[in-house]
């Protein structure tokens, strides 16, 4: 049976047999880094293509179809174009911050990758406060965005960055609360423990209605946090041209673009992990035979399948809901989502204490 | 514990009262009732009556001194509500919230009178001061009020930072936040040459000096007191300041020895500086409100004597008397000041002819602040000085003499108001004087004089 765990173990053993432990460790660091960057590149290419194809399907048209079969190399071509373009720095810009910002956004996206479990026993760092780590690091991307918007010396950029910042900071609260409601059920902050606790069913099924409510809130909040439509005020084309990255071009623009898709992937991966068991196959209570059959599907397939399913959901939003106004957006968070998620958390705590979940 | 819980609850009740009614006089009456209940539960606490059993893990320790101090401050607040309730309603459109903030502040005071742990002291100081930053800026349209609020907030945060640094150092030296072990661990033989603990205490000392506006740290006081809406100045200058002193005493009553020799040098310097800064500057003021701000600094100088004397019973009795005398008199004077049309000295011209009763009460209260015999202020000042002599013997006689000289200076600027009221022609205008207001003033004047004649009445209560 195919498993990523087998590959890593083989590599680990081979390295340790042939080199000293320190060198092996260093090599592993490098390998992890290379793998992460490769994953980023692949995800970026894949997700952009997916977005365009999904949009095309929603609008009953073909979408990219010239470069490669079904236009699959379209994004590769686009990326090559962007790499070859000149990276301009506006005249009145704060040069240092302007050039630093895309890297900060990128680095933050990479850091969030650390505690995510891609498959059974396939995780870069099983930190014991994984969930908190996720929300801490993801809140840092705001700084990169604000930096980019301010350093551009452009009012559209600044306004876009402000909107984006306000949005991320406020929606982070309800995203955090819905994450915590799963933590309440599990009793652990470690990603690995959360996944293992879903061995006899995913939380979205086991946690009754509160879990479902927190899933809905989570998905709304992360859509807003990643500045996706219908919450894409930060880059509302009709108002702000392109938002905080108006002034960026070439590779730096590509980095922002990439980071956006990476962030979508990451939040969907978190959602899949918390509510749909991550790499845990679909298990139902005591149906031993069924569970056994499900185990034959490799865990990495489960993880990526669920994540891509959620990504599809978020892309679907984009073509379904009209864009909100900024005051509607903030009202939605502070007057509806936040109180609901607080009450939901209390409900969840009661469920957890009384042991009403399965 | 009753007082802490009920004042917090009363704050919440006040917040909600704003939802149910827009009628501000109902809100004011709710606040008065809530405060009366608060006084009642605190009295119950004092006499071991009904007490919500909370295991505070020795973070809070309740004693009679603290309860009694609570009672005095709550009663002063009650009189403040009775006299100035109407004026609180006029400050802005958030009457219910203002009362809520005042109750939260009282909750902080209740924590401060019972803390047994530096953590609780920090919490108490913060709960007490944060509502004040808001109340100072309550008059949102007034730039002076905004400025005062911002100034107070920035300076207050800075002093809180210093306090936290001090607490951290004390923690570093002793390994815990509890009060009693600090001195034993620091002065004990084991780590006798430790310097970190005293350094931390010194920083906490500086921060508390800020809170009570003692001299080198008093610069915020006039601006804040002047800029804040007058009703809230009245609250800040009296009840809050007295509570700050209580925290001061409680923290240092057994710990001044940790600062060893320096205590006997630092304290007199601060006392003299405070008296000097307060009294001399007050002489030159043209606005009565600003004069009262400086006079509150001067009065703080007197209250510092009890910190200097630390831990003797005369001092404890003295601070109770002082808190009562000073708070009552200042609340009364402010209540009159708020209703004056003109806040300058000239605004008081000829008040005696127009409103003889109010002028008479104002005179009594001013005399009490100046420390003239037969008023509460005299005994308050007397106890302070007696406490210092009791603690330091003849070596502090010079300090006492200086204090008396400054008290004489203070007579000058208090008498300027009296002179304006009685001996100058003019048409001072007082607004909205009704019988309830006069009755409230009468009670305050009666309390001041009765404490002034028989201070033992108040003090005996303390021992029973």
């Amino acid at each position: 049976m195919f498993s990523l765990e087998g590959i890593t173990n083989t590599v680990h053993e081979w390295l340790n047999n042939h080199f000293s432990p320190t060198l092996a460790l260093l090599t592993e660091f490098v390998l992890v880094g290379v793998a992460a960057i490769a994953l980023f590149a692949l995800l970026g290419l894949g997700l952009v293509w997916m977005e365009r194809k999904v949009a095309a399907v929603m609008q009953i048209r073909l979408g990219p179809n010239r470069v490669g079969p079904k236009g699959i190399f379209q994004t590769t071509a686009d990326t090559l174009k962007l790499i070859m373009k000149e990276g301009l720095t506006p005249d009145g810009a704060d040069k240092f911050l302007f050039n630093l910002a895309p890297y900060i956004v990128m680095i933050v996206a990479m850091l969030i990758l650390a505690p995510i479990a891609f498959a059974k026993n396939f995780q870069i760092w099983d930190i014991n406060i994984g969930v908190l780590y996720l929300s801490a690091v993801s809140s840092l991307s705001v700084i990169g965005v604000l930096m980019a918007g301010w350093a551009s010396n452009n009012k559209y950029s600044l306004l876009g960055a402000m909107r984006s910042g306000a949005q991320i900071v406020s929606y982070e609260l309800s995203a955090g609360l819905s994450v915590i409601s799963i933590v309440v059920m599990t009793g652990s902050l470690s990603i690995n423990d959360i996944i293992l606790s879903q061995q006899n069913g995913w939380w979205i099924f086991k946690g009754h209605i509160p879990a479902f409510i927190s899933f809905v809130i989570f998905i709304i909040a992360v859509t807003a946090e990643t500045n996706r439509a219908p919450f894409d005020l930060a880059e509302a084309e009709s108002e702000l041209t392109a938002g905080f990255h108006t002034e960026y071009s070439g590779m730096k623009f590509a980095l922002f673009f990439l980071a956006e898709y990476i962030n979508i992937f990451i939040v969907c991966a978190i959602g899949a992990t918390l509510f749909f068991g991550g790499w845990m196959p679909l298990h139902i209570g005591h149906w031993e035979g069924f569970n056994h059959v499900m185990d034959y599907i490799p865990s990495s397939i489960w993880f990526f399948g669920k994540t891509i399913g959620l990504i599809f959901l978020i892309m679907w939003f984009r073509w379904t809901f009209p864009r909100l106004r900024i005051d509607q957006l903030l009202n939605l968070e502070w007057k509806y989502l936040l109180p609901i998620s607080m009450f939901n958390l209390i409900l969840m705590t009661i469920v957890a204490i009384m042991g009403w979940h399965f | 514990m009753n007082a802490i819980i009920f004042s917090a609850l009363a704050g919440v009740v006040m917040m909600f009262s704003g939802i149910f009614t827009k009628n501000t006089s109902i809100i004011t009456n709710v606040a008065r009732v809530a405060l009366a209940v608060l006084i009642a539960v605190n009295l119950l606490d004092t006499y071991g009556g009904w007490m919500i059993a909370v295991d505070t893990k020795n973070l809070l320790s309740f004693n009679k001194f603290g309860f009694f101090f609570n009672t005095i401050l709550f009663v002063a607040t009650f009189l403040f509500f009775v006299l100035s309730g109407r004026d609180i309603e006029k400050v802005g459109s958030y009457t219910a919230e203002y009362y809520a903030l005042i109750f939260f502040s009282l909750c902080g005071i209740a924590v401060l009178t019972s803390f047994n742990n530096l953590l609780m002291m920090f919490l108490g100081v913060e709960i007490m001061s944060i509502p004040l930053y808001i109340l100072t800026g309550a008059d949102k349209k007034n730039l002076k009020s905004n400025e005062a609020s911002l100034k107070y907030f920035l300076m207050g945060s800075f002093s809180t930072g210093i306090m936290l640094m001090g607490i951290t150092l004390v923690y570093g030296a002793t390994g815990n936040f509890n009060l009693p072990p600090i001195s034993s661990a620091v002065t004990g033989a084991v780590v006798s040459d430790s310097i970190i603990g005293p350094l931390g205490l010194l920083l906490i000392f500086v921060s508390l000096c800020f809170k009570v506006s003692a001299a080198p740290f008093h610069f915020w006081t006039p601006d804040v007191y002047d800029g804040a809406p007058s009703v809230f100045t009245s609250f800040m200058a009296t009840i809050i300041k007295a509570a700050g002193f209580f925290a001061f005493i409680k923290l240092f009553e057994e710990r001044s020895s940790d600062l060893r020799v320096s205590w006997k040098i630092i304290m007199p310097v601060i006392i003299i500086a405070t008296l000097l800064a307060g009294n001399i500057t007050a002489v030159f003021q043209q606005s009565v409100k600003r004069m009262l701000a400086y006079s509150s600094i001067a009065q703080a100088g007197f209250m510092l004597f009890v910190v200097y004397a630390n831990n003797n019973s005369i001092g404890k009795e003295g601070i109770l008397l002082y808190a009562a005398a000073y708070s009552l008199a200042t609340i009364g004077i402010f209540a009159i000041l708020i209703r004056m049309k003109d806040y300058t000295f000239n605004g008081y011209n000829g008040l005696a002819k127009k409103e003889p009763f109010i002028a008479a009460v104002n005179t009594i209260l001013l005399l009490s602040l100046a420390g003239i015999p037969l008023t509460a202020g005299f005994f308050a000042k007397y106890y302070m000085l007696a406490a210092a002599i009791n603690a330091g013997g003849k070596s502090v006689l010079w300090l006492v003499v200086i204090a008396v000289l400054f008290a004489a200076v203070s007579v000058y600027y208090y008498f300027r108001v009296i002179q304006a009221m009685y001996f100058k022609e003019g048409d001072a205008e007082v607004e909205n004087v009704n019988n309830r207001f006069k009755f409230g003033l009468l009670i305050i004047a009666a309390l001041i004089i009765s404490i002034g004649i028989l201070p033992s009445v108040l003090l005996n209560w303390f021992y029973f």
Partner: protein, 167 residues
Amino acid sequence: MSAIQILFWFLSGLALVSAIMVLISKNPVHSVLWLVMVFFAISGHYILMNAQFLAIVNLIVYAGAIMVLFLFVIMLMNLDKTSDPQKNWWMKLAGVISGGCLLMEMATLVRQAAEMKEKTVMMKEGSIGLIGNLGKLLFSDYVVPFEISSVLFLSAMVGAVVIGKKN
């Protein structure tokens, strides 16, 4: 020098340099960004002391929330370099002297302190900083201050509404 010591010195140096840069940066936005660096360095120190929860909370609260608000305000105010009020030269000198005195005093006092010489911070040991233990302590021994601090936050919230709401 072990890896932990190298990390410790690196983080301390980073924290100090960033803190100094906060003060000497001409541009307030740069100052805030340097301050974020300080918080990162401090969080690193917490992790070295095995207080992961504190480290993360430090990041969430300070770097993620408070500093973002700082950036918001400063960026919207659009302060430029020239609007920095020039202080009197004598005031600056007085500030430097008095601040320097305090620093010197504290430095000498801390140097003299006997008990500091043996005691160093516990690195990578102790479990008090882990979230489970912290939570248990917070809800048993320190439950009273924990609950009372809710009054503090409530009053701050009421205040924020009073100040912020339009009449």
